[in-house]
Point group: none
DNA sequence: GTGGTCTAGACCACC
DNA sequence: GTGGTCTAGACCACC
């Protein structure tokens, strides 16, 4: 995994982990690797992993079973709500910035389609 | 003007100034207020204004005439290119994140339209 | 029985067993199920049950008859003293925290009554 | 300040800081000592102080002005709500445990009064 | 082995 | 000077 040096590693981890959960790549109830394993695998300090996972626990996407491990929440509804929230935030931000630049609805939609069909999303 | 205390003020100024230029609110060739006037008006340290304006000069959106003042560039084409770039970046980021969450093209466009017609953009 | 995965299970057992004894649900002299039976019934490791029962024996609420089994103590006075102690500790803690928050005697008593009559205690 | 060695220091700090705010000892808008000063004064590591203050920021009781310092929130209403919440939680816990032990309303209130008039609260 | 806490100390950006 | 991040590494309880 490549980290952007300009932003805190732990925040990039939060975003990565959150995406895995909201997109369903990590399914409800899935057991996560241990903090130490994550740290080895991601080449960062265990404390950094711990900080990211704690934040996701605060957000309710992860739960800890003491002396057992950490798990993706089993409440699918919570995941769905968060996913819809996240999408709404992304849309709001995008629309706000494009509007400020002076783009119209048609232009926005045209540009979005163009972007999707360019194959630059990967 | 309201600043977010969590992010560097100079960056917020860069974004604000850049938006004014790219959206055409500040037209080509427009003379900018002096650094001191900006600082008074925005209630920030003159060094902060200076730092923001320098960055925009590096980006080619502003030019300095020695002993006269600072001006929005007169090269309209440069502004247009930057504006298109900015829009493309916004689209790429938006599409990438929505795709990661698992949204399809139709869903994205539906959500964008919904956002625009909700009146929540302000 | 539901355990809070965030806190040691054995401590939760200690609290549960102690409550059963102090409240009189388990009367003086009552013979307890075997460690193995408890473990099966509570779905925990026998070592965990053992640890909890040992602590209660140290506290004098339980006694072991070798090759026979474990029993609630027959000294009713010991139970009464511990119960009064426990209540006193609860009161002290409660009053201390409420006082720190700035609540007066009248307010505390009013809130307690409100809580009791809300039916939220279960 | 004396720390209970059985519980995490950062949690004890959270509780201490929170109490200072909810009780009004630290008033709305009050600037807190710097993280480093707190650490020196409390004889703990700056990271430990930081962790406690971050949690209070998540709770909305503290806000950070970058490069300036940390401040008690200026939203008095938020403080009031949290204070009422806290009191309700304390009452619920107290009533639940006393009820489990078999105490009646009259007994609880009698014991609370006794505790308050014993002078043992300090 | 699991997560959680804490320290010492370095380094960073911003102002 | 301010807060924020990160690391290396130790130590703990629980199971």
């Amino acid at each position: 995994m490549k980290f952007d040096t300009a932003r805190p590693i732990y925040l990039q981890l939060v975003e990565y982990f959150r995406n895995q959960i909201l997109s369903g790549v990590w399914q409800e109830g899935k057991r996560l690797p241990s903090v130490r394993d994550f740290a080895l695998q991601l080449q960062v300090n265990p404390n950094t992993v711990q900080k990211a996972l704690s934040q996701l626990e605060t957000e309710g996407l992860i739960m800890t079973k003491r002396n057992v491990g950490k798990f993706v929440t089993m409440q699918a509804s919570r995941i769905d709500v968060r996913k819809a929230d996240q999408a709404k935030q992304l849309c709001l931000g995008f629309v706000k910035e494009m509007t400020q630049l002076g783009y119209t609805e048609e232009e926005m939609i045209h540009l979005i389609k163009e972007t999707l069909h360019d194959g630059n999303t990967h």
